[in-house]
Symmetry: C2
Subunit: 357 residues, 2 copies
């Protein structure tokens, strides 16, 4: 029989960071689509919207008024998922007689949530902001990291952005969120556990080793600069999923040099520009930063290797998305085009935003 | 300080079946929604659609023609994610010198995929089908299980239904899919691993024990009959997520009695009717069956406890869904209303479909 063909034969790829598998069906890229069409984003927003609760000077849903801010601006989320203060709770330790306590485990969770507006302008997005302006966003992330470290007892701070209506974003004003909790949440906790086992077994960092292979192979790298690489992970789930990986083993934002932070701003701009250029639309995604807990214990600081994940849903054009539904929810994530094909597409796209040409 | 209030204080709940946590923020149910509106499903379809590639007698996308079937009908998926035959592949065993093989694990995967039409009628759904007609669907699932067991070397058969455009379904003709693969996929594999540890530690079935607690508490049970319970799991992620659980420890469809299969048809009808009655719309969801592999090895048959998961996205009305996006993808699933509140809502709804009143 002929040789195994990664571009044509179904296979599973392993994600060593989350210790999970995904199913790749590359021959399926030609499948026609007759299902739900996404609304393509229209780029005709005004720079100020009197009805936007994030624009400078406007009233928020709670009635509070935003200042006339001129750069980034953050405030405590009016509908925070966790709160600073509430009674403590932990399920009593299970004893074998008590099936309920054994199976119904609960932890009360305190914390705090913020909204960070990237810009006073209602109609910009990261790819059309300047590198210095994105740098201000990165400074704000860093400041908030240090502030929460100094002023709260909480453990982990998750920065994330939902961009586009199809990714649950309810307001196009450019913003991200920060949810800070008493515990390391599931996904980063899984990553720490994988980094820990890998380090114990190989005396080395999983992500440093991974990067060394990717740098040699080049086929999944989209773009790089002195400090960062943006690549489609070998085990990507979303069609054009990427990861921005620090080239050196740096734990968290405050540990980066000024040059590295400029390089981060620059690679974020170029990657998101390529995204927009792919289907000539403001590309929806959820993205977020994974780094050391603000209050690390044990080996957590040492293990952490700063990276960002981008999870964009679009598959084939501005209106056709990938649904991670039935088989994905019940059995295993599945993708059609390969990581290498996705990286190829992104790599060859222009670095200049289509709106600026 | 006052007592911990499960209906008002943020907490994490543990899912012992998947060994994971979810964040519950019950005070957040009042959050207004200004984001994407789903299209409410319109119930005005004809019973035959000349353009539908699943209707009897019509041509499929490949040009093949469906027979004039009169009950359920299944065929091999024209765009199957896995195929019967391809070369084999497994990443060579890692040795410590070779970082690439250590981090880039791949398995070739053969298998087969089917589409099962529930009915020749284009405009029905499970809740408006009769119990005997749903019983025929269950018979078809059982027959296919036995057929794939007898005729293929494959290991696991995943039955799932994507219902509604917002759950990636591209054709409203009532149908489900079956993906059958050489391996147990991620989600059932995690469940087997949890069932195995629990059984080793407590000499008992996790789901039998779980059911005994739920039956005593009643607060999360939506409906039950002699053979099955439909409940909102304590650790539910989707707003109105449910699980149909066999009351006895039965491994898979072929092991059920005729009476049990009738009871399964009946509880599927009532549960999905309640779903439709919740927001007076054809309720979207992804659902699927978890049971023993068709070719179990070791303890897998003994461990398996038949159940179905329903993952419906709607949150507050026919057009407002829950998005599992930024925080959920990067950190941890989050929900607003509690499992108990969701179960209460569903329990009190009528068992008669709103269209039949
Ligand atoms: O095969 P279908 O129904 O066209 O496709 C649907 O279900 C599949 C299995 O859950 C998903 O991978 C697809 O993204 C979804 O659109
Ligand atoms: O807080 P927002 O932006 O209104 O809400 C959005 O992001 C949250 C965190 O990812 C999700 O839980 C919500 O479902 C989503 O709509």
């Amino acid at each position: 029989m002929s040789e195994f063909d990664f571009n044509n034969n179904s296979h599973r790829r392993y994600n060593p960071l989350l210790d999970s598998w995904i199913l790749v069906s590359p021959h399926r890229t030609q499948r026609p689509w007759q299902g739900q069409q996404e609304k393509a984003s229209t780029d005709s927003l005004a720079s100020y919207d009197p009805k936007c609760y994030l624009c400078p000077g406007n009233a928020r849903m709670t009635g509070e008024q935003n200042p006339r801010y001129e750069s980034t601006y953050y405030f405590v989320n009016d509908f925070a998922a966790v709160k600073l203060d509430q009674p403590d709770y932990v399920t009593p330790e299970a004893d074998k007689e008590n099936i309920k306590n054994r199976l119904f485990k609960v932890q009360g969770t305190k914390g705090t949530c913020f909204v960070i507006c990237f810009s006073p302008k209602h109609n910009v997005t990261l790819p059309v902001m300047s590198v210095p302006d994105i740098r201000v966003v990165i400074n704000t992330w860093t400041d908030l990291y240090l502030k929460l470290q100094a002023e709260t007892p909480f453990k982990y701070m998750q920065i994330f952005e939902n961009k586009g209506a199809s990714m649950g974003c309810s307001n196009p004003h450019p913003h991200c969120q920060v949810w800070c909790t008493e515990n390391v949440p599931t996904e980063p906790a899984k990553e720490f556990s994988s980094l820990r086992s890998y380090s114990a077994e190989h005396d080395s960092c999983l992500l440093c080793d991974y990067l060394s292979v990717e740098s040699a192979e080049k086929s999944r790298i989209v773009i790089e600069n002195d400090s960062f690489v943006a690549l489609v992970p070998f085990w990507a789930v979303w069609p054009f999923e990427t990861m921005i990986l620090a080239k050196s083993h740096v734990a968290s934002l405050p540990s980066f040099s000024e040059i590295q932070k400029n390089d981060l701003a620059s690679i974020v701009k170029t990657l998101t520009t390529k995204y927009d250029n792919l289907f000539l639309t403001s590309f929806p995604y959820s993205m977020g930063l994974h780094q050391a807990p603000i209050h690390p214990v044990g080996d957590e600081y040492e293990l952490a290797h700063f990276h960002m994940h981008f999870y964009p849903p679009l598959l084939r054009g501005a209106t056709v998305r990938k649904f991670l539904v039935g088989y994905e929810l019940l059995a295993e994530p599945q993708r059609d085009l390969t990581a290498e094909q996705a990286a190829d597409r992104l790599r060859t796209l222009d670095d200049v935003h289509y709106s600026e040409k």
